[in-house]
Each structure stands twice: as C-alpha cells, then as structure tokens.
Symmetry: C2
C-alpha cells in the first residue's frame, strides 16, 4: 500500500484513445426515432459519426491530446484521507476522488468541449451554439471555441443566469455571446416569454433555442454538453485515467459514484469500469446521485424528445417528459428531464443504482461543507465543490457510512466534476451564510 | 526538444527540502532593529528559528510533504504555446508559467500557510491570527488552520473586504472569523475608525490589528503571509519544482518574472534560481512587477516598521514608509509599503529589476484578458488569473515583445500565483464588463 495521497499520471501515461461502450452494451442501443435530418443540419459530422460508431476504441487526435495537456490533463486522483478519518472509517473502506474541478473553466465539461470545437473547426464551421444550465458547459464551450478560433453563442437557463453574474462574465471574457433563455432571439423563446415574461427556463428550452439558432445559420453548428453517446465517449478520459491511477496503487473500485443530470460526468467516470463488468465479470456497484426535483432515472423508460420544443429526434431514455416543469435548484446541472440513452439502457438492465436528494438541497450542501471544512478538530479535504458535485460527495459519504454500519470493506471512487468558486451565492442561500 | 505543453513531476520527484538563501546572500542580512520580544510573544517558534537559520536546505517534515500532496503539489509548469503564437514570437523566445492558481484556496499562499499551521499546532497553539489584503492569504490560512485542527481569525483590509463577498464566505466556510480592518476589535482599529468611520484600511493596519489581537491571547499565534525570510523559504517549493521541470525538458531560464507585493510569490519562484546566479555564475534577469500605487522597490532602502502602528521590529527594506497611504487597486495583494528584506538586499545589489504599472490597472487587466481569451482568431491560454497575477502576465508579455524587437532569444519563466474566479467584480470594473 502506497502512502501517497495524490496519484498522478505523466503525460506519457495519458490515455491516447477514448472508450466507446456501444459494441459492449448488453443489447444494441435503440435507434433515435423521427426526422434525423436535424442532426445532419445542426451537428458536427465527426461527432455524428462517433455517435453511431461500433469501434470499441477511438483514437484521440494528437491535436486534442495536446489541448488536453493544455487544460492540465491528466488530472490527479486523490485519496480522501481526511474524509476517511472524519467519518471514522475502519481500515478497508477507502475513498478516492477524481479532480475534474481543476479544469480552467471549472469542470469536466471541457473534455468534450475541446473535442467538439476541434472537429467543428476542421469541418469549416465558424460559430458554436449551445445551451447551458449550471453555466459550466457554456463556460467550457466558450473557452474551447476560443482555443480553436471559433465564435460562440450560449443560451443560458434564465433561473441560473440571474444569480451567476461572474460566470456569465467569464463566458463573455472568453468571447461568447450569452443570452438568458427563453430569449427574444428565437420563435420558441418569444412564445414562452409572451406567456410569462419572467419564465425561469430549462435546459430543454435552451436546447430548443440553440437548435433553432444554429439551424438558421449554415456557418453555425450545435454542440451538446451531455446525453449523447459521443459526449459520454469524450468524457471517458476521466475513467480511463482513473483506472490507470488505481492500478498504480494496486486498487480496484467496488463502488463508483457520481452525480447525474444528462449523464456526462457519471458516464465519463463509470463507462470504462462498466466495460469490466460487462466483459470481464467484475462486480461494481454504480450509483447515480440526483435531485428529487429532476430524478429522471426514476421516470419512465421510453422514447422522448431531448428538448422542450420537440426539434430533436426522440431518444429511448429514462425521462420525466420533455415539457416537465422542474423546480429551480442550485445544482442546476442536474435539472434535466432525460438521461443519456447509454446510461438509461444500463439502468434498465439493472447495472446502475440511483439515489435522489430533496429539493431544498440542505443535505448535499451540508455534506459539501463537511467535505471542505471537516468537523470538530478534524479537517476536511479543502476543495470547494460545485453544487452538482456536492451530490457526488453526499452520496459517497452516505455510502461510506452504510458500508461501515454493515461491516463491509469497499473501495469507493467518486468524481468531483467541478469547483464552486463561482457558486458561493448558492452556498450562501442554502446554508444561510451571511 | 519535447513537444509537451504541461511538464509534470511525480510525487517521488517532489522536493523534500526548502531552500534557504540566507547563507548564500552576497552579504549578511541586516538584523531587525528594536524590541524583538514581540516576535517571541506572537510568532511560531519553529518559524522564528527558520527566520534566522544559516542552513542552506531545511527538511520539509514528512507531514507537510503529505499536506503538499493533498493540495495538489507538485504543480504543472505550462509552456504558453498559445501566447507565443499570439505574440508571433520567433523560435527561441519561449514562455513558461507555473500553475500556482491550481491551489484549493486559489493561490500559492497555501504553501507557507500549511507549514505555519503545522508548526503552530505542534507547539500547542489553538488559534491562528492574521491579516489579509487580496484575501488569498486569509483563505489559505483559514484552510490550513482547518487542515491541522486550529481556529483562525482574519483581519481583512476593508477596501477589499467590501467587494469580495464570495471570498469572505469561503474563509468562513473554512471556519474563520473574518473582520473588516480597521475593526472595533483592537485599539489601533478603533482609533482609525474614530478618525474615519469608512477607513479603507491597508495591509500595514491589518497587521497591527492582528498582532494586537494575538498578543492579548497566549493560545493565539500570529502568522504572516509574506515579507519574512521563513515565508519566502516555504515558498521556494515553487522555484524548486520549476527548476526540476525545466531540467526535464532541457531548458534554463534567461528571465524570471513575477508580481511583487511583500515578495512571497516572487521570492518563491526566484530564489532557487538566484542561488545559481550567486553561487554558480549563471546570468538571469529577474523582474518584479508592481503597481505604481505601491512601488515599494522604488522607495527608500532603510529600516522601517512592517506594520502601520509600529508594533513590529524595524526591518531593513525598500519601503514607501509604514504609514504611506496607497490608492485602492484590484490587485490588492501588491498594495504593501515594504518589500521583503531578502528581496530588498538583492535589489540593492542590482540583482533584481522592477517595473510598475499605472494605478488604473487597464494595461494589466487587458493583458490578462489577452492571456485568457487570445485575440482575433488566435486563442489564449484560458486560465483566469487573479488580479495580482495579471501583473506577472503583463510583465512577461511586455518582456517577450521587447526580446522580439531586440532580436534576442530568451526562455522566460513567470509565476501565476492565483486564479481569478472570485475576482470577477474586479475584471468587471476595470474592463468595463456589463
């Protein structure tokens, strides 16, 4: 057993391929239904090709490998020694977290943003259009657009846009045009604003607006930050690195945990390990941490639109319904009606557990505070998580406590998808800070 | 020549000793003058011992090595490839920056905070007291106090306290008691508030308040975030890592740049290289980037107090005078009347150049924006610097342009001491963001 807290990889050890789980799924993924021409019209062609690829591994272009270096990859895996002591865990229960919060834009979203921007540039597009909920995806895509020399436009769920001024300014600093959604820019937006001029918006609505915008401009292309197969595949860089890091210290996970909205950070960490479960008979418990306000994995498993207006083809997924209203929460990145088809299929086959936390978010923010600060004279880990990542932390802590109570020895690995430096107003409100 | 952008070190390659420049200085450092008993009464004993040590290398205790791992050390050194292209630099001019912004609390300050907190705990103290300007030191010390199980109190320059609510909440999340300085807690504070109830404060005043507070409570100890020899020594971890990283890619710096307030991040990067200049005849140009509002290196080289009230012994240093009023700037970490005695001595002997930027900060924030965003169709580096670090960036860019104009080939290394995620209101004001 190594004493190290941080487990690092060298540049040379960085994964050179993404993992595509499609050929390894227990059954073929159901095809999207409806008019697929919107995909051809609005999406990056290489991403669309990857979306349906049956190749188990897809080379990461050398240019993207260099961009990954520029954003600080590979990222450290930390053993949460302080948290283990804080929870008074017996020997044999170990907690590890992946440090996606060390990204320049603040989250894991940058892993796929860079890939999508790179391919878009290569295909001659001039502008990237997208939606954002928490603001992390919007920041990542604005940043990635700049990295490869493209323009960007972001439709941002109004309920969040309003309390995250600093994150908006960051996107604008990267050169993005940022609109509160619903906006006056699109038919969809204007219609909703007419019904309610203070409409809080939702990810589904923002996607509709983005698609409408991109559809009207042949130099523009739409980029999605989650849900789709190729997005999850780009994110497998997280799990592939983590696997190597655990090997280095001779560990293998019994439990893998992350928060889940559309599924990109969860899938990014989980899928490379899911491979071992599906193909090598390994046993791992996967837990997706959600909000009761958007517990899409407890919805119905059926075909549904990915956006509010129904512009997209229908995807077979766990869904709450594409026009379901969901209460605003601080972990807005989790506030989406549907879950990625890949994760949904795996969930339907019993490979993924789920837990949903109350909408007041007190429990998850308290857990985040414990993670940051510790308790009594015992220190915490000190890294400030994004509200979404607070769900991962809450779930990992709850699971560790359960293992302790049941006398189980487990290696628990979780992802901290983003930092919370720009989310202090959320902490303030939920924890009642002055 | 390696193609890598990020140069990493493994845990095994991490430095195990700090570098103490005292025995290598061109002449002995002038002793502090006046009543030194305040030091015995208010300071950590091990730090005081280190302050006057003549040992060239001092072992980093294993516990601190582990804490360094926990905060993500060693940190990457980045080659600023995008910036080089942006400035259209010819082959032979290379820019490298150290990523101190990846710290959990947002800056390099954590490197010495951890050491001071560790020793304080070992010596039986229960509370750490300090001052802070930009808020980075206060965050780092609150965090470090928690890591080792101590309480903390922070006196924060009022002019900054007022516009950085999120950073105050972060300190409080770590468990710190934070007071706007001047405060009603101390005689010094009450006197100044009586004269001006809206007194903007200064680092010197906050130090006086902290010393008064710590002096009244034998369980409390005062920790300083800059200026003193032991603080700079703890920070040499930055330069020692950087040296190893440059060796790995077969490079040696011609120019070393960082911003300078009291001197801790500048010294941290520069001193291990200064060793080579003093002892091995290497030639390196060192440039300290300052504000014209607090250009202490252009002040007088003489004995002066380190605080406003004159509680401290007098130190031989470049100073503007300990009661000099300085205009508020966004890079408040640079707003201090005096410069570290070590750096001052080296400056007086001609080893350190200095540049000071106008108080409106437009140039440095524009340079920071260029660094983040790039220009035209050329991308920037994407990492958002703290206002103080913007001075390093501005200076590095200005120097690179000068080298280009003069046809010189240079390896330029600079430090980015902190991130700006909590400083967006500063960007907003100076750059006129909406």
């Amino acid at each position: 057993m190594e004493k190290s807290l941080a487990v690092n990889l060298s540049i040379e050890e960085a994964p050179k391929q993404w993992y595509n789980i499609l050929p390894d799924l227990p059954e073929p993924l159901s095809e999207p239904k409806g008019d697929l021409s919107i995909l051809d019209k609005t999406m990056v062609k290489e991403c669309l090709k990857q979306e349906f690829s049956k190749d188990r591994f897809i080379d990461i272009p050398e240019e993207i490998q260099l961009l990954y270096q520029q954003i600080g990859r590979p990222r450290a895996l930390f053993r949460a020694k302080n948290l283990e002591k804080l929870l008074d865990l017996p020997e044999g229960i170990e907690l590890y977290y992946k440090s996606e919060f060390l990204s320049p834009t603040g989250s894991h979203k940058v892993n796929t943003a860079i890939a999508q921007a790179f391919y878009a540039k290569k295909e001659g597009f001039e502008r990237l259009v997208t939606e954002t909920g928490a603001g992390q995806w919007g920041s990542a895509l604005s940043f990635a657009a700049r990295l490869v020399g493209l323009k960007s436009t972001v439709y941002w769920v109004r309920a969040v846009y309003q309390w995250k001024e600093a994150r908006r300014q960051l996107m604008e600093l990267y050169g993005a045009k940022v609109f509160a959604s619903p906006s006056q820019n699109t038919q969809v937006g204007r219609k909703l604003l007419k019904e309610n001029s203070e409409h809080p918006g939702s990810l589904g609505i923002a996607i509709s607006e983005g698609l409408e915008d991109a559809g009207k401009d042949e130099k523009a292309v739409y980029c999605l930050g989650s849900v789709l197969n190729h997005v999850l595949m780009h994110q497998t860089i997280i799990g592939l690195e983590t696997k190597k890091q655990l090997e280095k210290i001779d560990r293998y996970p019994d439990v893998i945990i992350s928060c889940l909205g559309g599924g990109s950070n969860f899938g990014g960490l989980a899928l490379p390990f899911m491979h071992d479960v599906l193909k090598e008979g390994k046993k791992i418990k996967f837990i997706a941490a959600q909000s009761q306000g958007a517990a899409n994995l407890q919805g119905e498993y059926r075909y549904n639109f990915a956006d509010y207006a129904g512009f997209t083809p229908q995807l077979k997924m766990y869904t709450l319904g594409h026009q379901q209203e969901m209460p605003p929460i601080k972990g807005d990145g989790l506030r989406y009606h549907g879950c990625s088809p890949i994760i949904s299929l795996l969930r339907s086959k019993g490979f993924i557990d789920t837990v949903a936390y109350p909408v007041d978010e007190k429990h998850v923010f308290e857990r985040a505070r414990l993670f940051v600060r510790g308790d009594r004279d015992l220190p915490g880990e000190g890294y400030l998580p994004a509200p979404e990542s607070a769900y991962s932390i809450a779930c990992a802590i709850d699971e560790a406590i359960k293992c302790k109570e049941e006398g189980l020895k487990k290696v628990i690995v979780f992802n901290i998808s983003g930092h919370g430096f720009m989310d202090m107003p959320g902490y303030k409100e939920v924890l009642g800070l002055k």
